[in-house]
């Protein structure tokens, strides 16, 4: 495991719970990982094909054994096809999430979704305008209905161009056209890509990669972007808001309900239900000091951004939260939920409640959530949690009491008002900061946790190195949670960790050097923030001109592969810790890490050491600054970065 000496996590609360779990004999992800070693290298290199039962076919990476599969597919074809299937699944996951939010908007407009309302009319009307929907003389619901129908049509679109593609700067749209990768329809692009990977269809690795890129773009500029837009319309556009993060947010004498997964639709309703008097009475009658709602993964980020609901932890903390014994209900929806959760909860009063039709667990209570009776479902869940609380063994609870303050709630819209208030909403101070040389640039650091890297270490080390070098960092997902727990999202962090120029910007605006912009579908916010930077002027005409970079220092999921691909294909240099499982193909590796740049302006790099990775990003940002003819940085570079990663455990 790459990382920090003998620790499994750099986060004290997590390390405490890992040690506690070991003492109690709970099995955690790290234990299972150890048991699986050595993992299959053919799988890692992407040169094992199981697409048909002529195989499995494994190509010899050393060129001494089999050079192709039974059908004749080479390592290049196989690696490209494997990547294609991963990206198709990642894109499908974001997009299916997006579809559900759009459908909720549709049902809300139809008056069929109990308890939901349109909270952000401004954004609804902006989207209507972009769609060319006439709004004069129509009531809000009618406008919402037409917007939702139009958006939904993009999921099923069979020809033409995905509507939101028009938000990209024109030079970028032209690049996509030239390369033949302009997304068509969200569902169709996934289906087409899956078809391409069937045995004996698309065999040219580069051609396959272009199809991969099209599907990834229909996630980033389609499914994910719709998820963000329609969540903002339904649940409100986030504004800067205070909260806390880490396991210490759970309270010993409260009914602790942890939401985990990715979709905001139910958790929004849980927030509302937890405030209703009847449900609060139930908790009180059970002797609890109210409810403590907290989140894990992106469901957490969604309700953090809009309501300031605290965060219990990120991806690798899901088992640790359960290990406390203080969680009365863990309400799970979709994506990144460990099947192992059931095992840990078994010996405790904790109830695992699955709410998605799409996701069932053996031995798990299913309270299926449907939008038509959302509030009722939410109340039912909270009632179950109160029952669990009554059975909780107070002695079993071993709660770390640490949690850290943070400020979240940054979006494209709220950055505008953060920088200029009601009357000067502008991106100018950000662009000027870069042009004047106070800010070197902006980095998006996102993604998951991965047992192969000390928990949170990749995120925190990389982000500290970036901000030390005057790079403003925006974050989503579990990466954001990692840095929030490390205190990097407190405004005070500027004084402690930021370079002098960045510190001046943070001081002028009142922000932390690291900004939380939401969940993993909200990476679309980062794309649109880049679009606004281009529009504001002075930093080039395309996203690929901007002094910006992306990274996923502890990534693990297929969604991350889709994200990295669409970000790079949008012109942004992106560094990943683990390599994509394609390294067994020279052609695929070379295209992703070199060839893509000529076609799209962005490409990928793979680097496990977070500090070295940060410097790849910084070098890239410097290169872009130079190409733009920007002035020298206002303040000297800090001391050279420390050496590469500490030895593994």
């Amino acid at each position: 495991m790459a990382g920090n000496g003998n620790r499994t996590s750099v986060d004290d609360a997590s390390q405490q719970m890992i040690d506690h779990a070991a003492a109690c004999g709970f099995e955690l992800a790290w234990d299972r990982y150890q048991a699986l070693l050595p993992q299959c290298d053919f799988g890692k290199l992407g040169i094992c094909c199981t697409n048909c039962v002529l195989g499995p076919c494994r190509i010899d990476p050393f060129g001494e054994g089999a050079e192709c599969g039974v059908c004749g597919a080479t390592a290049d074809t196989i690696a490209a096809r494997n990547l294609a299937r991963h990206v198709a699944c990642g894109a499908a996951s974001h997009s299916d999430h997006g579809r559900d939010v759009v459908r909720t908007l549709l049902e809300t407009a139809q008056g069929k979704a109990e308890g939901y309302e349109i909270k952000n009319e401004t954004k609804l009307y902006a989207l209507a305008e972009q769609f060319g929907i006439e709004t004069d003389g129509k009531d809000l619901r009618q406008v919402a209905l037409e917007v939702a129908e139009t958006a939904l049509a993009d999921f099923g679109r069979q020809e033409g161009v995905l509507r939101l593609v028009s938000r990209a700067p024109e030079p970028l749209q032209k690049k996509w056209q030239r390369m033949g990768v302009t997304p068509t329809g969200i569902d169709a692009d996934v289906v087409r890509l899956m078809h391409a990977t069937h045995m004996g269809v698309d065999n040219d690795p580069i051609h396959i990669l272009k199809q991969v890129i099209r599907t990834a773009l229909s996630d980033g500029w389609g499914g994910s972007m719709y998820a963000t837009d329609c969540s903002d319309i339904l649940f409100g556009g986030p504004e800067p808001i205070r909260s806390r993060a880490n396991l210490g947010v759970l309270r010993p004498n409260a009914v602790n309900v942890v939401v985990h997964g990715h979709e905001p639709t139910l958790s929004e309703m849980l927030v509302a239900a937890a405030q209703s008097p009847d449900i609060r009475n139930l908790a009180e009658e059970a002797g609890a000091d109210g409810f403590q709602l907290a989140g894990i993964c992106c469901t957490a980020n969604e309700i953090l951004m809009r309501h300031g609901i605290p965060i219990a932890g990120n991806f690798l903390q899901q088992e640790l939260a359960l290990a406390t014994g203080a969680v009365d209900a863990m309400v799970v929806d979709v994506q990144c939920v460990f099947p192992s959760a059931v095992k840990i909860a078994k010996d405790m009063s904790t109830r695992i409640i699955s709410t998605s039709k799409k996701a069932a667990f053996e031995g798990v209570e299913q309270i299926e959530f449907d939008e038509e009776h959302a509030l009722q479902s939410a109340k039912k869940i909270l009632t179950a949690a109160v029952e669990a609380f009554k059975q909780r063994d107070p002695a079993a609870a071993d709660l770390p009491d640490s949690s850290e303050h943070l400020v979240a709630g940054y979006t494209v819209e709220s950055i505008f008002s953060t920088l200029g208030g009601t009357y000067r909403p502008l991106f100018r101070p950000l662009n000027r900061g870069i042009m004047d040389g106070r800010l070197r640039g902006v980095a998006g650091v996102v993604g998951c946790n991965n047992v192969k890297i000390t928990h949170d270490w990749g995120h925190v080390e990389m982000v500290k190195e970036l901000i030390r070098n005057d790079v403003l960092v925006v974050q989503t997902g579990c990466s954001a949670i990692a840095c929030a727990k490390a205190g990097l999202m407190r405004p005070e962090a500027a004084d402690l960790y930021a370079g002098k120029g960045l510190k001046e910007i943070c001081d002028a605006v009142g922000i932390a050097p690291v900004l939380h912009v939401g969940s993993c579908v909200d990476n679309s916010r980062i794309l649109l923030a880049c679009v606004e930077m281009v529009k504001e002027g002075g930093l080039g005409d395309d996203l690929s001109d901007l002094p910006v970079a992306g990274a996923a220092p502890e990534w693990m999921s297929e969604k991350a592969m889709a994200i990295a691909t669409y970000v790079a294909a949008s012109g942004i240099f992106t560094v990943l810790s683990e390599p994509f499982p394609v390294m067994g193909s020279k052609a695929v590796r070379q295209y992703l890490t070199e060839g893509m740049e000529a076609d799209f302006g962005g490409m990928l790099a793979f680097e496990q050491d977070p500090v070295a990775a940060a410097h790849l990003m910084i070098d890239h940002i410097n290169k872009k600054r130079e190409a733009l003819g920007l002035t020298e940085m206002m303040y000297e570079m800090p001391e050279p970065a420390r050496k590469a990663a500490a030895p593994a455990k």
């Binding site: 920088l419 208030g421 009601t422 009357y423 000067r424 502008l426 405004p491 002028a508």
Partner: protein, 735 residues
């Protein structure tokens, strides 16, 4: 620590809003909700609120939503000591709340009968905005400074304003510290204040800063042509076009901070001389840094210039006294006078004419006769200034235009006062200027430098002769007078029919994008500053500039003044918004207006005539609208039949709305114009065959409403009453 700054800003804003709410409630109790709110001499209902919110606040009741907006949307909590939320946007919102609250406070005061203290100007009128504001946005004046509080010493106060004056930067001293103001400091040091000297104190309180800012914001509405409520465009305009900044002396109290945030919102940085002021250096809201500390009094003004990015061309002219436009309004009184030329007791002439390139040496300055060292203090001396100009592009037509600049140039020197023109010049040097070494040859230095500077395109060589020797002076005088006569004939003789081209003026298109002035020999530009010859000269000087020749083309209607070439030009240059254009008609396809007009001609239907009202006239007119209200309807580059913006001398032209009967249609004119132009008006009346006509024109002394106007016109038997119906004049007699 910006947090300290924005905490103070937000506290200060809370204070102002609270004060405004209390004053408003009290006023509602006393006057009722319907009581009218207005500032004097402005067409803009509470200008700042109008500009940023689009709301017209005209009564006390109109204030309520604005105060609510301040309280609920703009005022946030003071940033916490830990885990604070972003405060820049909140601080700017607090700045906006401060501006709105101050404006309401000011307006309520006016309702309660407020008059500014002696020597303070209080609210600044639209006239001041147009006259001075235009110079700010077109770059003639590099910027303005609002100075809060008294300087640490009188000396620093004087030095600071002198440094600013030297750079032609307008100065607004406001606010006080413990009752002490900068104005008092300047008074003690005998520094004259007022528009003439570029030092304009609006008032002794922090609140009085709003009069500077709501004066500045009107320039975006007027010259920028921006619609009220378009706050983003308006604030960007003010940041990009109005080079203003604030200076604060001493520790900054919360109410100054709040006001400063309002200034920063408008894009104006603030420079503090206090050690305690935290800096806000990152840029974006302002062009450069937002809040900067400069504790060295000597460096204060240079720092301001740098931080605001003000473009100042400091004129290096080799003379022993300061030289800048800011000194233009300065008077030299008899007691301060060393010597005078012209006026009552002597003769003074100035004459500029062309010379052949080989005949003169550039920079040659010759004093013919005795200089002024020998004359006794207070003497009146005969003198002549002859300027010889040579240049490949120079033409005789330009002589008058260049000669007219002598007045402006000489006035820019401190201790020099110049009045009049041609052979009616009256020139004085002050004792101080004399003591500093100012002599006759320095007139030459000034004219040589300035003519090259401003007219470099047409001027290659400039030589100056200053003549006091009687015989040489007599010769100069004779040559000059002959030239004046020839020039007058050339100008006076010129009619629209005799030329094939008119000239456009699109100087104001940066403000009113669809407006085109068509300047013909018989119709000057509506600002009064450009006649046909000026435009012609300007075109020569800058062929790509705003004054382009317009070939008249085929005549469509001689009487209306409609030509195909002009139509085409106007259509193309009005962003295809004005399709037909008639030079001589009020009612049919008349000229549009930018907003700079000296006068407005407006139809008075019941009198079958027109009235003409000038910008300086602040009272009511017989059509029930003040100038300011009318101005709002006429400007903006739109054709409004029945209304015209004009230069005042156009009244005297034979082509003055000649299609509708012209001069004899005038039924009402403010007395000031009648008095000032009486002689010329009477001449025109003679020509029109109505010798006693001028006395038949009503003014405000006989009528400010329709009824009394009609009574007067009938009593004097005004000719308009008998003319063809003004509303019935057909669109074209050509057909």
């Amino acid at each position: 620590m910006s947090r300290k700054v924005f905490s103070a800003v937000i506290r200060g804003a809370h204070g102002f809003v609270k004060e405004a709410e209390a004053a408003w409630e009290k006023a509602v109790d006393e006057h009722g909700e319907k009581a009218e709110l207005k500032f004097p001499e402005t067409a803009f209902a509470l200008p700042m609120i109008l500009a940023l919110t689009g709301r017209k606040v005209q009564t006390l009741a109109d204030c309520e939503p604005v105060l609510k907006h301040c309280r609920e949307d703009l005022l946030r909590e003071v940033p916490s000591d830990e885990v604070w939320l972003p405060y820049l946007g909140h601080g700017l919102d607090a700045g906006a709340a401060t501006l709105f609250a101050q404006e309401i406070l000011g307006a309520v005061e006016h309702l309660n009968g407020f008059e500014p203290d002696d020597g303070y100007l209080g609210f600044l009128s639209d006239t001041a905005m147009r006259e001075i504001g235009i110079q700010l946005v077109d770059g003639r004046m590099p910027g303005f400074a609002a100075i809060l509080g008294p300087a640490p010493t009188d000396e620093i106060a004087v030095n600071t304003v002198r440094e600013l004056q030297k750079r032609n930067i307008l100065i607004f001293p406001v606010a006080n510290r413990d009752g002490e103001t900068m104005k008092e400091q300047l008074d003690r040091q005998n520094v004259q204040t007022g528009w003439d000297t570029y030092i304009v104190p609006t008032g002794p309180r922090t609140l009085d800063a709003i009069y500077v800012l709501n004066w500045a914001v009107r320039s975006a509405l007027t010259f920028g042509g921006l619609k009220p409520g378009k706050f983003q465009d308006i604030l960007q305009y003010s940041r990009d076009r109005v080079f203003a900044f604030g200076i604060t002396f001493g520790n900054i109290p919360d109410d100054w901070y709040a006001t400063g945030a309002g200034a920063i919102l408008m894009g104006y940085p603030v420079i503090s001389d206090s050690d305690d002021t935290p800096e806000v250096r990152p840029t974006g809201v302002t062009t450069y840094e937002a809040l900067v500390r400069e504790t060295d009094a000597e460096e204060l003004v240079p720092t301001c210039i740098e931080v605001r990015g003000v473009k100042v061309k400091i004129e290096e002219i080799d003379i022993p006294v300061s030289f800048a436009a800011a000194f233009e309004g300065e008077r030299v009184r008899r007691d301060d006078m060393q010597v005078e030329f012209g006026g009552k007791s002597s003769h003074c002439v100035e004459y500029l004419h062309m010379a052949e390139m080989d005949d003169i040496t550039d920079g040659s300055i010759e004093v013919v006769g005795a200089d002024i060292d020998e004359v006794e203090v207070g003497a009146s001396v005969d003198m002549g200034i002859e300027v010889l100009v040579a240049g490949r592009e120079m033409q005789e037509d330009f002589e008058g235009i260049l000669e007219r600049q002598i007045h402006r140039y000489l006035n820019h020197a401190t201790g020099v006062m110049h009045i009049g023109q041609r052979h009616l010049v009256w020139l004085r040097f002050s004792k101080t200027a004399f003591e500093q070494g100012f002599r006759l040859k320095h007139i030459g230095n000034i004219l040589h430098a300035k003519l090259h500077d401003e007219y470099g395109k047409i001027v290659d060589k400039v030589a100056v002769r200053i003549v006091t020797e009687p015989d040489a002076l007599k010769d100069l005088m004779e040559r000059a007078e002959a030239a004046y006569e020839a020039r007058d004939l050339r100008l006076a003789g010129l009619t629209d029919e005799e030329v094939d081209v008119f000239y456009s003026c699109t100087l104001c298109q940066t403000f009113a994008p669809n407006h085109v002035c068509v300047v013909s020999p018989e119709r000057q530009g509506l600002c009064g500053a450009y006649d046909w010859l000026d435009c012609k000269a300007a075109f020569q000087i800058s062929p790509e500039g705003c004054n382009q020749p317009i070939p008249k083309g085929r005549t469509r209607d001689k009487a209306m003044g409609e030509w195909e070439g002009v139509n085409e030009f106007v259509y193309d240059h009005s962003n295809r918004s004005v399709e037909r254009y008639c030079q001589y008609s009020l009612m049919h396809h008349p000229m549009t207006s930018c907003g700079c007009f000296e006068c407005i001609v407006a139809i008075v239907p019941e009198a079958n005539g027109v009235m003409v009202v000038n910008r300086e006239y602040g009272g009511m007119t017989p059509i029930g609208m003040e100038f300011s209200t009318l101005a709002g309807q006429v400007g903006g580059g739109v054709q409004t039949p029945g209304f015209l913006g004009i230069g005042r001398r156009y009244i005297l032209s034979e082509k003055f709305i000649s299609y509708e009967g012209g001069f004899k249609r005038i039924v009402w004119l403010p007395k000031e114009i009648k008095d000032a132009m009486r002689e010329e008006l009477e001449e025109r009346a003679e020509e029109e065959g109505v010798p006693d006509f001028v006395d038949k024109i009503a003014d405000e002394t006989v009528a400010t409403d329709s009824k009394s106007l009609m009574a007067f016109l009938q009593e004097v038997d005004h000719p308009a009453l008998e003319m063809e119906s003004l509303l019935g004049v057909p669109g074209s007699r050509r057909d």
